[in-house]
Point group: C2
Chain length 144, copies 2
DNA sequence: TGACAAACAATAATAATTATCGTTTAATAG
DNA sequence: CTATTAAACGATAATTATTATTGTTTGTCA
């Protein structure tokens, strides 16, 4: 890594209140240089090339710390287990980033103009699934 | 259950090519009458009240059959494991319902007018995470 | 009604993730 | 620059969610 990247990482850790460790730094760099939507196992495999002794648990722990600190995001909020929709009306979701609650909102009420049909890249868009991330009323109370 | 519900269920099974079994029918009714976003375990607990001998595996299998047949939907396509975003630009996802591939699309290119601020219900909207569901170019080829 | 495929219950197996615990390392106060 | 202490680490056991297997039962349809 170069000096600029190194300083960036130190600042990131400072802000997040995390110690600057070798493992954490390599993980950070590896993530910065990967593309797409890697799984923890894929990230682990990459980091292992530079630190053969690293533990998978360390990778998980630090990915979670990065996510919590907003240094990286996860592809889709995953609810840990499969969830079934019981609301048959077209609707989207309000997801509270604090308490993880999910509220339904009618597609009409959200009023997004969803373009179906072919998008750039030749992707045929059929349906939109929208998560609006934010804070529910209760968590706003608590925060204030 | 009443005769109307029973007929509806038979039609649903017919269309999906599924046998009409007692377990399947009770599961269907239970799901119809639940609200929110129940997990398989929660559904299992409910069904068990009416069929104490039912197996959790049966619940899983039938939920999947219902999802595949489009009788119910899942809350969010879950990728089986945690995935980390490596693209730091604001973007959304094109999700191919056939091959499960995920492509990034710049938020600007998708051109949704995202309303942040307070939504009905007092929810404070901060960010939108949009999955556009459809078929990628390759899967359209295969299908034709 | 009988044959056969589909579905079922029980439960073993697997995959993903998290917890535990003894050891090592970074932060920082002196 | 060293001692103290909390944080982080590696190894691995444990847990959770899900899927596969297998022998038995039950719909479906001739």
């Amino acid at each position: 890594m170069n000096a600029v990247e190194s300083r960036e990482f130190r600042e990131v850790c400072e802000r997040a209140g995390l110690a600057v460790t070798h493992q954490r730094q390599v993980l950070f760099e590896v993530l910065k240089n990967m593309h797409g939507h890697p799984s923890p196992e894929e990230v682990y495999a990459r980091v292992k090339r530079r630190i053969p002794s690293i533990s998978l648990a360390t990778v998980y722990k630090n990915i979670h710390l990065f996510l919590e600190s907003g240094i990286f995001r996860e592809v889709s909020l995953h609810h840990g287990s499969l969830r079934v929709e019981t609301n048959s009306k077209p609707h989207h979701h309000l997801v509270c980033t604090s308490c993880k609650a999910i509220f339904d909102i009618d597609a009409d009420d959200l009023g997004l103009s969803e373009k179906t049909g072919t998008l750039p890249g030749g992707f045929l868009a059929q349906r939109y699934a929208v998560d609006v991330l934010g804070l529910c009323a209760a968590c706003q109370q608590k925060a204030s």
